[in-house]
Symmetry: C2
Subunit: 139 residues, 2 copies
């Protein structure tokens, strides 16, 4: 059996997941990155500021701007000026945004189920465990 490195495997598997997810999202009109932002906003208990969303997504604030531009144009998110600090923008999910989040969550679940179908529930737990350990590592 060909020896494939961990790095290479990680690259391949994560790309496959992205593909499966992206294809399901296309008819819904959002990209995986936008869906990911939607999710972060939906999971927060209150409106996030741009910097906070950047933090949650682990990208730089500048990179959040085009994501929110697209979501706002699609009517899924509203930008509101933070009355407490007029430099800040509060990102508010619209009803349509919340609904899109539900639908994209289902798409992600399906894509994951599809990809990880060869693994048993125990193996999936193991995988989550291992990746979680790597992810929690501070750099």
């Amino acid at each position: 059996m060909e020896e494939v490195e961990l790095s290479e495997l990680l690259h391949r598997v994560s790309r496959r997941l992205r593909h499966g997810y992206a294809h399901r999202l296309i008819p819904m009109g959002v990209s995986p990155g936008q869906a990911r932002a939607l999710r972060a906003l939906a999971e927060a208990d209150r409106p996030l500021r741009m910097v906070q969303l950047a933090d949650a997504l682990r990208i730089v604030p500048r990179s959040v701007t085009p994501v929110i531009d697209a979501l706002e144009e699609a009517g899924l998110v509203r930008r509101e000026v933070d009355p407490a600090n007029r430099r800040s923008t509060l990102l508010v999910l619209t009803d349509a945004g919340r609904e899109m989040h539900e639908r994209s969550r289902e798409a992600r679940r399906e894509a994951g189920q599809d990809l990880f179908a060869v693994l048993t529930a125990d193996q999936r737990d193991q995988l989550r465990e291992l990746l979680g350990a790597v992810d929690r590592q501070v750099h």
Copy 2:
């Protein structure tokens, strides 16, 4: 403990690996994708054609073109017309290309070691096993 989904973890960890790898490659003047192509060429026992490289990298042939353009411009790969079939291009690693492959392999090894440092050797094997099973799954 916050429940993070497998899909999200995969995304995060694979991005972290890419970052670590990319940062080490920057001073060497190649991108991760170029290094990956270099690796595929070095691991083949004979010159590959564009289509074959595309296959090895699991991307469409069109996407290989700019990768090889860059590698050729950097003097790491030579395009040669296949005498047996003049439609085909044979991709030949230059000496510089072979050397760059060695260096980038080391960079990848370091990046992987760095990222997976929290895991024991056994856990890394487990992870490789699990991802390998997912990867081998035909879709």
